[in-house]
């Protein structure tokens, strides 16, 4: 299942920048500042002027905040990397006091990766954990392949019925791997239901909800629980970095690297890096993480149960749950923390076709609108502290308003072009400026990743640096289109949980 909730620092605003910057710096158009009139006539002049001002102010706000967030992210990354170096993981890896974790992996038609995903989960380096796979009404060979590989036999188990979960057909246990439980249930039509089902069966104090199409690093639990163990009373949720890879089933060093991948996947790789390392880390420092990624959501089970588990009423479950947990703890005035970690804990497949990418991002845009609309009472409300006063407002600014500003900017650009008010050489200047502003953030993200892991080959670092200035013009326009589709779907009330088709291999 795919729900990589990646929210970008300048998500969707870059294309707007492209349009706005072009128009605003046009020499003819700028004459309004000097109290002269445009050659395009008084009827068009005023609306264009207002639109330009709106777009530029918006753009400056988003970029300024983005750069401030990056500075915070640098500090946070430095602390996390040093913490890891200072303490080491050996004791946590073998201590009986390390809190056990239930890993929940919902799967729906994942026959291609299911076996490898479960193997990767069972190979996690952690003293005590269980893996609960919830087969959510797969119509392909997912269950059969798991049955064959892990010698599954149906053995009923009476679960806690704390959350509504639909119909469970059978519970399987493995003859070869005692830590594995597979639950076969009737398809719920969303990811929330199988996750709640897994929660009902989970036995341990922390639960880690993962994706069924994502391969996890062996240290994933150790590196994330290391921080939780410092303060389990307060840390109720945690997420960590997910990496987009062409072959997630293979470790990076055994692949040809980013140069052997497609341009589309490389842009997604860069985008994920920036999102996790220059944005979420900063929000983590301010305890305002807006989304614990669906590919790696580590939560204290009692916190999840208190808030009523995952909600099936939204197109996607992860961002809404994060909002709800914030709301719950802030309303009850109990100390809590939701963290985002810089360590890459998993490799996932991104869509390698444009159609898949647009449909995925449209869904993300839709769920962002659904969630912010549902929790609008929290925005600018001092009761919800920094999350209500900074986190949600920034979310509204950069995510919710982005599609509207994008449409406004494009319309303005089209109008200005129609009236001959666009100077194309200056357009090129403005585009370059915006491209480099975004690219600098991308390179910073590459640096943060490299300093933490040192895993990239040098040639891949060079490739990412070269790609970074192209992102705005080559990749972003498709996201603008996706955002617009997401907005339309939101207004239509569409709540489909559509995932992109697996990439062909």
């Amino acid at each position: 299942m795919t729900s990589k909730r990646i929210r970008l620092l300048a998500s969707g605003t870059a294309f707007a920048a492209l349009a706005c910057a072009t128009v605003v710096f046009h020499s003819d158009l700028l004459t309004w500042r000097r109290n002269t009139v445009l050659p395009l006539g008084s009827v068009a002049e005023e609306p264009i002027r207002v639109a330009v001002i709106v777009c530029v102010v918006y753009l400056l706000c988003v970029y300024s905040i983005g750069y401030l967030l990056s500075l915070l992210a640098v500090v946070e990354n430095h602390s996390r990397v040093r913490e890891g170096e200072a303490e080491g993981w050996e004791i946590i890896a073998r201590s009986r006091f390390t809190i056990p974790v239930s890993v929940i992996a919902p799967m729906h038609n994942e026959e291609g990766l299911a076996v490898r995903v479960v193997h990767a989960l069972l190979e996690l380096q952690y003293p005590e954990f269980e893996v609960i796979v919830v087969n959510d009404g797969s119509t392909d060979q997912t269950l059969e392949r798991l049955t064959r590989e892990f010698a599954l036999l149906p053995f009923d188990r009476f679960e806690r019925r704390v959350l509504p979960i639909g119909t469970v057909d059978a519970v399987y246990r493995s003859e070869t791997e005692p830590r594995l439980t597979v639950i076969d249930k009737v398809a719920g039509g969303n990811k929330a239901e199988p996750l709640n089902c897994g929660l009902n069966f989970a036995r341990y104090r922390y639960v880690c909800c993962v994706d069924g199409d994502t391969i996890y690093e062996r240290h994933a639990l150790l590196s994330s629980m290391r921080l939780v163990l410092r303060d389990p009373g307060r840390i109720v949720g945690l997420t960590s970095q997910i990496v987009v890879a062409t072959h997630p089933e293979l470790p990076y060093r055994r692949t040809t690297g980013l140069l052997g991948s497609t341009l589309l996947l490389n842009f997604q790789h860069l985008e994920y890096l920036r999102s996790f390392l220059t944005t979420r880390l900063a929000w983590s420092r301010m305890n305002s993480v807006v989304c614990t990624s669906g590919a790696f959501m580590l939560y204290r089970r009692d916190a999840l149960e208190e808030v009523g588990g995952y909600s099936p009423d939204f197109s996607c479950e992860d961002i809404e749950l994060t909002f709800r947990v914030h709301e719950h703890f802030l309303r009850s005035e109990r100390p809590y923390r939701i963290l985002s970690m810089p360590e890459p804990v998993a490799r996932t497949e991104g869509p390698d076709r444009l159609g898949g990418l647009i449909s995925q991002r449209a869904r993300w845009q839709r769920v962002m609108l659904e969630t912010t609309w549902h929790y609008r009472r929290m925005a600018f409300n001092p009761r919800y502290r920094q999350f209500g006063l900074i986190g949600i407002p920034f979310c509204i600014l950069s995510e919710v308003l982005a599609p509207f500003v994008e449409v406004l900017a494009l319309t303005t650009l089209a109008a200005a072009a129609l009236f001959g008010a666009v100077s194309w050489p200056e357009y090129g200047f403005a585009v370059s400026l915006m491209s480099l502003a975004l690219a600098s953030l991308s390179v910073l993200a590459v640096r943060l990743e490299d300093v933490g892991t040192r895993s990239y080959r040098v040639r891949d670092i060079v490739w990412l640096i070269v790609l970074s200035p192209l992102e705005l013009t080559v990749y972003r326009p498709f996201l603008v289109w996706a955002h617009a589709q997401g907005v339309l779907a939101f207004f239509r009330g569409d709540k489909r949980w559509d995932r992109f088709e697996r990439n062909l291999r």
């Binding site: 303490e87 004791i91 006091f97 149906p154 059978a170 390179v443």
Partner: protein, 396 residues
């Protein structure tokens, strides 16, 4: 060129410089790191082969490396210990005063360098490392304390255990993390832990009871744990009964059997688990917990009963018709997991006349387990599910 054009050009130039500067910085730092890594690989190889003596080639290589890289690699927990010790010794030999000064450096800004210096001193086996670590534990900086606690644990001597025990008392850091280090101690430290059971603070008594499990076989410890099992705080009672069970003394059984009736659910759950492996007596004492109000207690009871399959059927057969549906479910699940259900099915009990003794037990298990358990049993044994569901529904 008007003012706006100039502004645009300046801005573009500034961003181009930022981008280029960052790109070069990323690449250069990485190349330096790789270069250092290659040299260090050679050092590691030589260091291990030369039994950690600084001789010839490794020494020459080490001198070519910048101090910062040497320090960082020596202090990195990922560096194999022999190589780390070799590097730490080298760094300390070259800059002793500086390293000691850094190990004492107060303030948050220099905390990472302080941690690195402490690690170098510890690895190099420097005589005054322990007092410096003790000082670090008292520093109040969470990161410094965390690192110092880990280093004290790695020392594994009596004095470091005393410092850790003191840190546990004064809660200088997460108690579970300090306890994890104490639990790894190679020295016998029961005498340090026993006084914790007398502490006023319930958390300390809890950790005392938990950590003493390693010494539960000793008479004085078993006695103290027995007393702790009557502690007013439930978490202490739960820890005490679990630790006592490790010692497998007769007191352990008596205490656990008494605590399965504790008013607090998690004490009952721990008591039930403590009875695992204590066979005979366990089953009879634990079986009533199948009807407990808490799911966790019922789960613990089931685990314990599954661990004594020899007596499970005898004890559980009465629970198949229990008034509480949870107890019926639980009994059926245990009989399923211990193989009793499959044994009855493979013996052909399902096809015998329904009034015989065998089919009745089978029918009662299936009826108690419900349709999902019955369907699972049929699938597992290659039987007709509907036929089994019919048997489950018949009689009773």
């Amino acid at each position: 060129m008007n003012g706006t054009d100039t502004f645009l050009e300046l801005a573009l130039g500034a961003f181009a410089l930022v981008w280029l500067g960052l790109a070069l910085y990323v690449l250069l730092t990485r190349l330096i790191y790789d270069l250092g890594g290659a040299l260090l690989d050679r050092v590691r190889k030589h260091g291990v082969q030369a039994d950690l003596r600084y001789a010839g080639d490794p020494e020459a290589l080490l001198r070519r490396l910048p101090r910062r890289i040497l320090e960082r690699t020596a202090a990195d927990p990922a560096t194999p210990r022999p190589a780390a010790a070799l590097l730490a010794g080298h760094v300390l030999e070259r800059h002793p005063a500086d390293i000691i000064r850094l190990a004492r450096a107060p303030g948050r800004r220099r905390r990472w360098r302080r941690i690195r210096a402490l690690r170098i001193l510890t690895l190099a086996g420097w005589h005054s490392a322990l007092p410096l670590l003790e000082e670090a534990v008292e520093s109040g900086d969470e990161d410094v304390v965390a690192a110092a606690v880990a280093m004290l644990g790695s020392l594994g001597n009596r004095r470091s255990a005393e410092v850790l025990s003191h840190a546990l008392r004064t809660q200088r850091f997460s108690r579970s993390r300090i306890a994890a280090q104490l639990d790894e101690s190679r020295m016998p430290i029961a005498d340090l832990l026993l006084p914790l059971l007398e502490a006023d603070e319930q958390q300390l008594r809890f950790w005392g009871a938990t950590l003493l499990s390693r010494y539960a076989g000793r008479e004085e410890v078993a006695t103290a744990l027995g007393q702790a099992a009557a502690d007013p705080d439930p978490s202490v009672r739960a820890a005490a009964v679990e630790s006592l069970a490790v010692g497998e003394s007769s007191a352990a059984t008596t205490t656990a059997v008494a605590l399965v009736r504790d008013p607090v659910w998690f004490v009952r759950a721990h008591a039930a688990r403590a009875l695992r492996g204590l066979e005979g007596t366990a089953a009879a004492a634990v079986a009533p917990l199948l009807a407990d109000e808490s799911w966790w207690v019922r789960a613990a009871a089931k685990e314990t009963l599954e661990a004594c399959p020899a007596v499970a059927l005898e004890v559980l057969v009465d629970y198949l018709d229990h008034v509480d549906p949870f107890a019926r479910n639980g009994a059926a699940e245990v009989l399923q997991n211990t193989g009793v259900l499959d044994a009855l099915l493979s013996a052909g009990e399902a096809r015998r006349p329904p009034d015989g003794p065998g089919p009745d037990t089978l029918r009662r298990i299936l009826a108690a387990g419900g349709p999902r358990l019955t369907a699972s049993a049929a699938a597992r044994n290659g039987l007709d599910g509907e036929e089994l569901q019919g048997l489950a529904a018949s009689g009773g």
